[in-house]
Assembly symmetry: D2
Homo-oligomer: 287 residues x 4
């Protein structure tokens, strides 16, 4: 579909390294920078040719929180402004979780910045990889099978919708607790039991596994006290999550806060998802 | 959850009759009106006691398009205004597909009108029943099994999302064609193949079944000409649907426009969905 | 895989007609006999060239129970012995449900007779088509969706194993009743509830649909009396089935005895299954 | 169903410990022996009361290969003959993988020995737990998701039938390779692609994951050489498995031989399966 393009892939972790490899497999010209600890990539010492790229891809997240490139697989410590200063006005820069600092730099240097992480299709894709990562952790942590386990999924957004039918397909008895009638109707449509979040602590005691996807304090002292002995709590909500961690520790509840699962458990797939999303951005912009 | 309430169920088809029965099974007081052709309902001759109801339920659709009650199971031909005039100000009236005329009448008589058909949870529920109805038609019409059949689902909104995984679970090879990258990512997450709508006619020839859910002209002369001999087109999009019906006839393409499936193929379940939704409305209003 | 062969397809219903078409699509030479009411087949007036065929295919069942060819799509009334007398010694004849009479004729004329209907792979394939046919009948007969319906499947052999997970995938709550611990363990492995057949009548009252696959009297007066009002009984076991039909009629229980579903609801697929099985027989014999 | 019984649970690993706990939860009297390293069990110093048990349960496997009890969670090293000498004639002893030595001892002491591991229902149950264990390993080892991974399952017996639909439900593209037409038809019925084992090496190159369940040398030097770079081989067949391990090492193919998965990845569930099976044995014997 796309003719051969010239990409620069800069910084990042194993996802970004995988992305560089996948772009090359598709026949594109690929240069990398700040990925020199990865074998087999065409890694550059400088950014000299970057202004010729059809698309420059910064990592997920793009920055290290202090204005520099996020580059865990490199000794390079490079301010994002320095990178953007090497590019040409109008050039396409795709970045993940672009913060206000990066946006300002993009305006300053006149480059076209797009945040692939903000795209719906990447979020939908990542939900699948996150669901698999959650299943992996549950399989590792529990001394019982997911088959015939009683599982409660808290929240039924993107992630709950990816995870719950997978758990059911493995034979778990899955309940969904969600506030909205609409989400509950969706859950029921997938063959799941669904109920509201009120009175949660009254029916928590029968579950072997709780998976939280709601980014709000939902499992506090009272709820955690009601859990069955040996139950596992898996919190997938972004920091600070939905679990009262102090109470969990005090009560001896086994609770795992699993963040950024796609990058950890399936980095190559996570890189492929970014690749697809960058392609979409390029198609829409006609690059 | 709800204590015993007093309902009046007025007019409508088998869904409405089922609804009356289900409310009574839940222990509520139920009066019906304009449903006298149904056996076993407590059908009233007049609306005299209706002003005492906690909730008055009008059918789906509420009106017959000419300002009268939709009442196919009754000899009664009653203007909607007459019904509302029998109610008390503030009384809850739940109706399906309430049009502007009914809304104006509700304002005039000061009743609290809610359209259950406009609720997301009912739409999600109906999508499941519609999906089953579509499967029934496909099973009836095709001389092959859905198992190993090649199926294209056009559109991946609510209905496509309910139907496609069911077809896959029956063993069909399901492709989804959808415009948005997000919907395609959702389809892929469910294990389906997904592509865009452009160049549709180039790959139509391999399908045994096409199910359209897009309410836009999508299967015109060119597309219909490209179909495999014997292929079935099932159009689930609301009138006028997505098929060029004249071309289909001229080409001898087998095409079925299936509308209002839940009410036709699963009226009792459709009535139960309305019941649930009315309960939600009452909970939210504290009735 | 197979090089071009010469087939004679003789008698039978729409399955056999479909089989002839599919063999031709694969590039084989195909002659038919006693199928003259079907359009578009190369139908012969006599069996003169049949002795040249690599394989002669008789229908399912091969005979009409009186020693003649089963040929509902033909005016021909031809004794099976006459057909076999036109063949050469050693020639391969594939037939469905070959009875002792046909076997004796085959020995007499020295042809190599194989019964494709006795093959495990055809039985496994037919179970899928039968399961779909059962789903079609249930969708047609029930005023509720299979989604969230309570279904009891009696027996968990080939057919129960094909049908039950499909019903579950459509959202039904499926219980399996089977005598053997092994079959119950298999059902549980597929996420189904399973129990024994003892005390059946004590828990029958909660089901919307019963599907019997056990060829033994299992639903007698007591069991049928225990059913919920409006429940549907679908008997898929071969004649006389597992239902006490007289009691069902007396009690007004809705009961359907559905036989030979693949041939009725998916004749083209049923023909394809026979085609595959005939290919396997030819491969094994090196024809 | 069962009234309260007296059990002795002797030796074994975490499965046996879980079994003791589950029996107690069911209200039975439970004594243990040679499990003293497990907390919370009523562990006896001697076998003095064992002759009063309704059922004595030996572990899986019962012996250590040298005639002594298999007791990894104990300091006790006790000949099996000594244990049986403490029992009374006719007493029920359930053991896993009872070898000829144990059978001879049982005859000598006149006890009723039953091998729960030889039961079909336990094999069916264990296949599910093994399938989950295999999924866990694949999730841990692969840098890609199982979703959209290309997986080949070799063999379609009990384990292949439990594993393959689970992989498909997770979104993998699953091919089954099996010798018998019947098994291939079963696989196709579950929506899987199926082919024979001949010419295997010609189509191995496209798979990300190979799971072998065939206890025969099936992946030799030629096949392993044909694999895609980075492919994972998971061998679930009992020792020596189906992989040429020396060639795998020489070629640098990532290959894992995973044995006894249920006991390792889900010991509590494995104990529950044994419990169910022991109950079945007792029901059949009327103990």
């Amino acid at each position: 579909m796309l003719r051969t393009k010239n990409f620069w892939v800069i910084g990042g972790d194993r996802r970004q390294a995988a992305l560089a490899g996948l772009l090359a497999e598709d026949g594109h010209g690929v240069h990398t920078f700040a990925l020199e600890q990865v074998q087999g990539l065409n890694c550059q010492q400088t950014l000299d040719g970057a202004r010729l790229a059809h698309c420059v891809i910064l990592p997920l997240p793009a920055g290290d929180g202090q204005g520099r490139l996020n580059a865990p697989l490199s000794a390079v410590r490079c301010p994002l402004g320095e990178i953007l200063s090497m590019l040409r006005p109008g050039q396409l820069v795709c970045a993940g979780m672009a913060d206000e600092g990066l946006r300002a730099l993009a305006r300053e240097h006149g480059v076209t910045l797009r945040d692939y992480f903000a795209r719906e299709e990447l979020a939908a894709r990542n939900a699948v990889a996150t669901a698999e990562g959650a299943i992996q952790i549950a399989l590792e942590e529990l001394p019982i099978t997911l088959h015939e386990a009683r599982v409660l999924v808290l929240g039924f957004g993107r992630l709950g919708q990816a995870l719950s039918p997978r758990l059911r397909a493995l034979g778990a008895r899955v309940w969904v607790a969600a506030r909205s009638y609409h989400q509950r109707a969706l859950a029921q449509g997938m063959g799941l039991e669904a109920d509201g979040l009120a009175d949660l602590r009254d029916w928590l005691c029968s579950f072997d596994l709780l998976v939280n996807t709601v980014p709000a304090p939902i499992l506090g002292l009272e709820e955690l006290s009601a859990l069955k002995e040996g139950a596992l709590v898996l919190d997938l909500a972004s920091r600070p999550g939905g679990v009262d961690w102090e109470s969990a520790r005090a009560l001896g509840v086994r609770a795992v806060h699993a963040l950024s699962l796609p990058g950890k458990t399936a980095p190559v797939t996570a890189g492929r998802y970014i690749q697809e999303t960058v392609y979409h951005i390029m198609e829409e912009l006609g690059v």
